[in-house]
Amino acid sequence: MNLEKVVFGFFIVLALTLNFGFFVGDIDNPDHHHAFELFAALVVSLIASVLKFGDRTHLGAIFLATSLVADLQLVVAAIFWGYASHVSPDGLTSAAMVSIVSMSGGALLANITSVVLLVAETITVRR
């Protein structure tokens, strides 16, 4: 067992699960989507990206790319949430919530790709 692989797999899968946890629920209902979950998903996603730095293989490049996509979507979602609840005069409307959750949905897809790649890589290595 390789500790590096455990940590790597842990963060990638955790990024997906947290992202999924935030995503499920009615898309326009703020009560179904907790800010803490988005925060945790974003932090874990950032750490997962850093863990993917410096791998020069082709697969490593794709890993990094998917992770950067997830980061980008989650950061945009977080910024939009902050804008909607503090800057926008309308406050956190259901329309704003739809945008936030759909952004996190995009990140979810990127995270799924990441996990699929992880599984594919694991299957090819028969050790």
């Binding site: 800010a35 803490f36 925060f39 850093v50 730095f53 410096g54 949430w81 902050g82």
Partner: protein, 570 residues
């Protein structure tokens, strides 16, 4: 993406994760710890406020407790986060600086920069392996001609020295073992802009390896190598179109020429000089008995040539057991008067100090001068640092190993017309050469003349090419001064080469034809003036006819119209 970027990222993984974690924990703490707003209500920070607060707190900007004064719980957490974030930042910045200053990383970065610079070179360059005495002389000479060089050397100090020079075209340098194919490839041996590879390392074996690698990696590339033994020279010459240069043989050749034909030697010396070299005095070595001290590789090469020139040679060598020592040789160092007297210095015409030790060489020549002040003295200089003392001593000929090779290679790299000219000139008689020497003195000052090629071709000299297509251009037109055609530029056309044959010192009324190549000899600034005439229609027209031609389209139209009108009136 460059590998260097990945390496940086990989080394910074831990500091980045530490920073992200510290920020995440701090923000989370502020969101969860309850505070009070200005009305005394319980108020919890949103992520937005927490991120804002942590951002300015961690970067020590410190706007204060925003938006409401903190509760005691929040202050307690702030104390923790201040220390955590400051430590996190110090660690991250320290780690980044550490990676950037890591010697291995610095070397990698330099190598990367070097590779990129070589790939981006878009002018013809030479690849020079070895930056010792020879290499530095050659790089400077090439830089004076505007040709950049790429240099590889094993010694980092030499490369640093190279990078600190302020040549017009900056040479590129890399620390590396040039006999390794990877290093050669990185230095651009396969680049289409590489004009030649020059192997000047101290080791003959390394030079051979460079020659082999070059031959395999880029077969048509020209290769010049230094080889100190005849066997290695033959080995390097045996494949491809390589040219191996043996400093001892080259110098011995020159000495033989100086003995047999002093004027021809002076001409050859002046015309193959390095840029900005001072014009050397002509030497006239006599053909009596010569004393040769030191019978190593240099001594043997000289012995053979002197014998060939029909000169009686008395050898002095320290090694009694030397098997190939000629009969009747004196055994001794040659630095003491007794040995020199025994060798007959008092009645000899010339003496050669050819030992591998500079101190001994100087001592031999000084003692010999005491015994016989009229001697023709030839000195071998081994260390470049001793150059000053050799110059002051005023020997007639000094053999500097590095310079001999550098001069030879520089002469080989320049236009092949110089070689053609010298081959033809060597067949001329002494009076012809003397006349030419005095003409050269007339056009130069105290530096050796610059030799360059004027090509009547579309790319090199468009104005001259078009004028030659129409006909009527004579050589004298080029020799007129572009600012005042009554004046003449002081240049000597040495050779005119065309398909039908070469003209040695072509006459001034020779009509120029397309594809002619002319070898010009003059002071450095003259080249610019002649290039101007060759490339600018207006200037060339003025030189040919004396008329000032207007450059603009409108004026040319007006002139044509006026000419047509005056023609009609007449």
């Amino acid at each position: 993406m460059p590998s260097i970027f990945y390496i940086l990222l990989r080394r910074l993984r831990v500091p980045l994760i530490v920073l992200i974690t510290i920020y995440a924990v701090s923000i989370l703490g502020f969101v969860m710890i309850p505070g009070q707003d200005d009305q005394g209500q319980v108020w919890q920070m949103s992520f937005f406020h927490a991120f804002y607060f942590v951002s300015y707190m961690a970067s020590t900007i410190g706007f204060g407790e925003i938006p409401y004064a903190f509760s005691e719980g929040q202050r307690l957490w702030t104390v923790f986060t201040i220390y955590a974030s400051v430590i996190g930042w110090i660690y991250s910045i320290g780690a980044t600086l550490g990676v950037l200053q890591d010697p291995a990383f610095v070397r990698l970065r330099r190598e990367h920069a070097f590779r990129r610079a070589v790939q981006q070179l878009r002018t013809p360059f030479y690849l020079i392996c070895g930056y010792g005495d020879t290499g530095s002389t050659l790089v400077q000479a090439l830089a004076d001609d505007g040709i950049p060089s790429v240099v590889i050397d094993l010694d980092e100090n030499r490369i640093n020295e190279l990078l600190l020079t302020d040549f017009l075209s900056r040479p590129l340098g890399m620390v590396g073992d040039a006999s390794k194919p990877v290093v050669l490839e990185r230095a651009g041996v396969t680049s289409p802009w590489c004009m030649g590879c020059i192997a000047l390392t101290d080791s003959d074996q390394a030079n051979l390896l460079i020659a082999l690698c070059t031959e395999v990696l880029n077969p048509p590339l020209r290769l010049l190598a230094r080889a100190e033994t005849a066997e290695m020279a033959a080995n390097i010459n045996s494949f491809g179109g390589n040219e191996a240069i043996n400093p001892f043989e080259t110098f011995a050749d020159q000495l033989e020429l100086a003995l047999n034909a002093p004027c021809h030697y002076t001409l050859s010396n002046w015309l193959s000089g390095m840029p900005h070299q001072t014009l050397s005095e002509p030497v006239f070595p006599g053909k009596g008995v010569w004393v040769l001290a030191g019978f190593g590789r240099f001594g043997k090469a000289l012995y053979r040539r002197l014998q060939h020139a029909g000169i009686q040679v008395q050898v002095i060598d320290v090694r009694e057991s030397h098997t190939r020592l000629p009969g009747g040789s004196i055994i001794g160092l040659g630095t003491e008067a007794d040995t020199l007297k025994a060798a007959g210095v008092e009645t000899a015409t010339g003496v050669v100090a050819g030992t591998p030790d500079d101190g001994n060489n100087l001592s031999i020549l000084m003692t010999a001068r005491e015994l016989n002040p009229d001697l023709f003295m030839v000195a071998r200089q081994n260390q470049r640092d001793n150059g000053l003392i050799y110059d002051r001593a005023g020997f007639q000929l000094t053999m500097k190993r590095g310079d001999v090779i550098a001069h030879r290679i520089y002469a080989l790299l320049r236009t092949p017309l110089i070689r053609d000219f010298l081959t033809l000139a060597m067949q001329q008689n002494r009076a012809w050469v003397n006349l030419l020497l005095s003409r050269i003195i007339g056009v130069v000052e105290d530096e050796v003349p610059l030799l360059w090629e004027v090509q009547v071709s579309m790319n090199e000299a468009p104005a001259l090419f078009e004028a030659c297509m129409l006909g009527g251009v004579r050589l004298e037109h080029l020799l007129r001064h572009p600012r005042d055609r009554e004046q003449r530029v002081s240049a000597i056309p040495l050779l005119l080469k065309r398909a039908e044959g070469s003209l040695l010192l072509p006459a001034e009324d020779t009509a120029l034809q397309v594809r002619d190549r002319i070898l010009m000899c003059a002071r450095r600034p003259v080249q610019g003036e002649m290039d101007w005439a060759c490339q600018n229609h207006t200037v060339l027209h003025y030189l040919m006819t004396g008329e000032e031609l207007s450059g603009s389209w409108l004026w040319r139209r007006l002139r044509a119209w006026r000419q047509a009108r005056s023609g009609a009136a007449a």
